[in-house]
Symmetry: C2
Subunit: 176 residues, 2 copies
DNA sequence: TTGAGGTTTCAAAACTTCTTGAAACTTTAG
DNA sequence: CTAAAGTTTCAAGAAGTTTTGAAACCTCAA
């Protein structure tokens, strides 16, 4: 049975919820943000039981959430001398975390998008007999493809920590 | 009763779904992406009825979705000479759309985040009597606040079309 | 080998969000 | 002013997601 460590202040729980919501907005699950925050604000590593207790989550939920956080490198396991169970601490380098998500998730998404557009492009030409119509649609798909490539370039630069120039984004797609 | 205009190819519907999913990932609703895409690929403006027919959506859903798209400026109303009902066409300047979302939604989010952290910061010091603990937590909250400010700066630059340097993001938060 | 402590899995329940269909409301032509 | 056409709203239902609790599964110490 977990030792009920420090009771954690109300304010801390609110920060946890805030970050939970932010994470949710970013496409992660809310509990991930809540747990990460508690660990980030704790000077010592915490065990699964403490986390569940503080955040009113079941052991199962805590376990699943911690695993997801580990997968993203947002949390690290640590061991305490005598103790058998695992303890966890937060990865504090938020910049690295963001970078990793951009690289592994966002970039991947943009690639899939570009691929889907290529497929569509191949399928499109045979569709309609009227040349002018066909070309209109194909041109639009090409425009989207260019957008996908641009996004890929931009993300790649961001991930590499290079300077980013957003202007082509605005220029190329203006319709004047 | 809508005229069933051109049947729209399978490929087009797939592009629509792809973009729908992309929009969903971005925090919008999938139908928004689907409708916008159909309009974007159509040489002529379309009416609500045609859209609903092609995408198998009810009139109500089409109406709500179009209104949301109009609110974001992603779609414009247009009128056809004799016809009474409204027709819609896609905003083609995707860069402007992205810019607007960054400005009105993301920036707002980061601001709220910063605000929540300030509140937490005020609430935190009184919580724990041990000075060293207290300072640890406050420092961490300050770190998050700095992150929020940095994000705000970055977004503001992006929205203004200025060059963006992502390195502070990586440097400041490294824990070495 | 056995048992205690801890973790993971998973089906069911609770909760959210999305979609529908029908009714109410607007608008415009006659 | 009336009626027809089109649009919007909204409550109910459907669909999808998240959370839980309990059982199965490890792992290590004795």
């Amino acid at each position: 049975m977990s030792g009920s460590a420090e009771p954690v202040t109300q304010a801390e729980l609110e920060v946890a919820d805030t970050i939970g919501r932010l994470m949710e907005f970013w496409g992660f699950k809310r509990p991930m943000g809540r747990i990460w925050t508690l660990l980030y604000l704790s000077p010592a590593a915490l065990g699964a039981a403490e986390l569940g207790e503080q955040l009113k989550m079941s052991a199962g939920a805590v376990s699943m959430t911690l695993n997801e956080l580990l997968k993203w490198g947002a949390v690290k396991k640590s061991w305490r001398p005598g103790e058998r169970r695992d303890f966890y601490e937060a990865e504090t380098s938020i910049g690295k975390l963001v970078q990793r998500v951009l690289r592994e998730r966002e970039l991947e998404l943009v690639r899939q998008f570009g691929e889907a557009l290529s497929n569509a492009d191949s399928a499109l030409p045979r569709a309609n007999e009227m040349a002018t119509l066909r070309d209109f649609k194909r041109d639009r798909v090409h425009e989207l493809q260019r957008l996908a490539r641009l996004g890929e370039t931009l993300l790649t630069a961001l991930v590499a920590g290079k300077m980013v120039d957003p202007t082509p984004f605005l220029k190329v797609y203006g319709d004047t």
